[in-house]
Point group: C2
Chain length 326, copies 2
């Protein structure tokens, strides 16, 4: 087996690429602005070109000039692993719905991009990649079972048993963001009311703060969830109440996962988790209160430790595992 | 391996016993009234005596006279499997909390009763037993993964992967009844608000109906959930609205399980499930609405088919598996 793969993280804003070795080191990186597509084939060829260029540039291409491909002493990657947002069936290589790339449905990214590249190419949901990355090299090392919440623009989730993703029958297991915790609560982008995502995501926090603060508070045009946390820290009552509600809802989500899946470890990752103890402190407190008393002490919650690299490492892990047939 | 085991279902009202053969046939049964205990040892010895008497009566004991034990041609059971309500860690043989037998904590039923009986004795949560029974001989046959809701006085749940219980790290996985679906909703016996159990169980249905109907409606002293369903069928508006709310909440629970665990099959068992299509029709409709559109058609929900026998068969299954080392 060759010792490196290309990992791809197809996010909402950026396409991130990395060369990853079998020890989980990212030896080269690239970041491109993501764009939306209206035709599947355009997405496939754009992706194949971006990945192909990235590979070639590691083999002697200088600046804009293309050199001959792959010299014998500098072996190319053995495979490509792609992490992708949206409900997908990784085992069948099918993305049901891709909100990040123009809301297309039924994408076959792995097989089509793989064919264009001439490399074995594998797909995995981005939350599952992040969990695999954290289990391989981050805060999840050694956990027999873990559940990762990714709290960002949306909410994702992933459940690992013995380091393997539990995909479920149609590949969508782990979709904690669209479990309902507050029937009749705020409306989610998915159309339902009271989804965890409608209470805890960055989008939900911003929306709730704009409503709670009303016209009394000056709002910058580019208000971010981070600013809401900063305002809460400085004593802004509306921000404080929004953060508290989100933290409590996250706590309910954690307790629901604990009762239903009972993992050894719960990890919290994603951009919003950078708010740190302000979010996680009250969330864990709420979760413990909600758990059967004899088990309250057994809940273990940690922040994910790899940041954005978790997704790249997980995508690489998927490719390495396919190569070695695990 | 000898070909039969004794299965025990330690319920809230009855202690049910059965001799079960390796093909999943219940060849003999007994039902005793359950009682509460204040001391662990009293429970252990009462259980051991009840099981021991049941075994002996299959080997020549007539009426009240005790005959000599076990003749060579009528072999006794090889093991005992006990299904038990309450959060427990079956793999470690520990019951954290036993609401059905006087609310004692930290029970070691399997090891203590097994010692008194002189037979290998194994423990499993009652909802897990019901799921194992349905997977072995009932509506769950052949499902790669299934989630069973037991909707009765309380709500239990069980998640099977390849016919094996997913116990989780501390044995409590599957506790769907105490996942929160309606933050701020009705108070549950566990002290939280908005647990599924506080919306869908027989207890919850009765409580909500008493409140909704108020003094305008004649209430029999022994009102049951079945009567509420019957009244709803006959057009009682209060009963109708309670049943509708419960069905929708069950639908939310089903959708949450589908998003989080994505099982091939969802089974609904327990006493309240006998209400049939009046509960399950709107529940499945609500669940489908709540699921990602591309996957709505993939949800499979069925009624459990074995009734009370599921628990006995599952307890027997546990004993057979332990005996054969699976």
């Amino acid at each position: 087996m060759r010792e490196k793969v290309v990992a791809v993280d197809l996010g909402g804003t950026n396409l991130r690429l990395g060369v990853v070795d079998s020890a989980g080191r990212i030896t080269r990186r690239r970041r491109l602005a993501m764009r939306a597509f209206t035709a599947r084939e355009d997405l496939y060829s754009w992706l194949a070109e971006a990945i192909g260029d990235f590979i070639e540039d590691g083999h002697g291409r200088q600046g804009g000039r293309r050199a001959r491909r792959v010299s014998c002493d500098r072996q190319g990657p053995a495979a490509v692993g792609i992490g992708f947002a949206g409900p997908s069936d990784a085992e069948r290589g099918l993305i049901y719905y891709a909100p990040n790339v123009g809301c297309m449905t039924d994408l076959r990214v792995a097989s089509r991009v793989g064919k264009l590249l001439g490399l074995p190419t594998f797909l995995e949901n981005d939350a599952n990649c992040a969990a695999l990355g954290e289990h391989w090299r981050g805060a999840g090392r050694g956990a027999r079972s873990l559940f990762l919440f990714t709290v960002g623009t949306g909410i994702g989730g992933s459940f690992l048993i013995d380091g393997q993703v539990w995909h479920g029958e149609h590949g969508i297991a782990g979709e904690i963001g669209h479990t309902v915790v507050a029937t009749g609560g705020p409306r989610c982008n998915c159309g339902k009311e009271g989804c965890l995502e409608a209470l805890v995501s960055a989008t939900a926090i911003l929306k709730a703060y704009r409503r709670a603060a009303g016209r009394a508070v000056r709002m910058p045009a580019e208000l971010t969830a981070k600013m809401v946390f900063d305002r809460a820290r400085r004593g802004d009552a509306a921000a404080r109440s929004v953060v508290d509600r989100s933290a409590r809802a996250l706590g309910v989500g954690i307790a629901n996962v604990f009762h239903l899946l009972n993992p050894e470890l719960v990890l919290i990752g994603g951009g919003v988790s950078r708010a740190g103890s302000m979010l996680l402190g009250p969330a864990v407190e709420e979760a413990r209160r909600a758990i059967f008393p004899p088990l309250q002490g057994k809940l273990r919650v940690k922040r994910a430790s790899l940041g954005d690299d978790a997704g790249l490492l997980g995508a690489a892990r998927v490719a390495f595992r396919h190569l070695s047939g695990i």
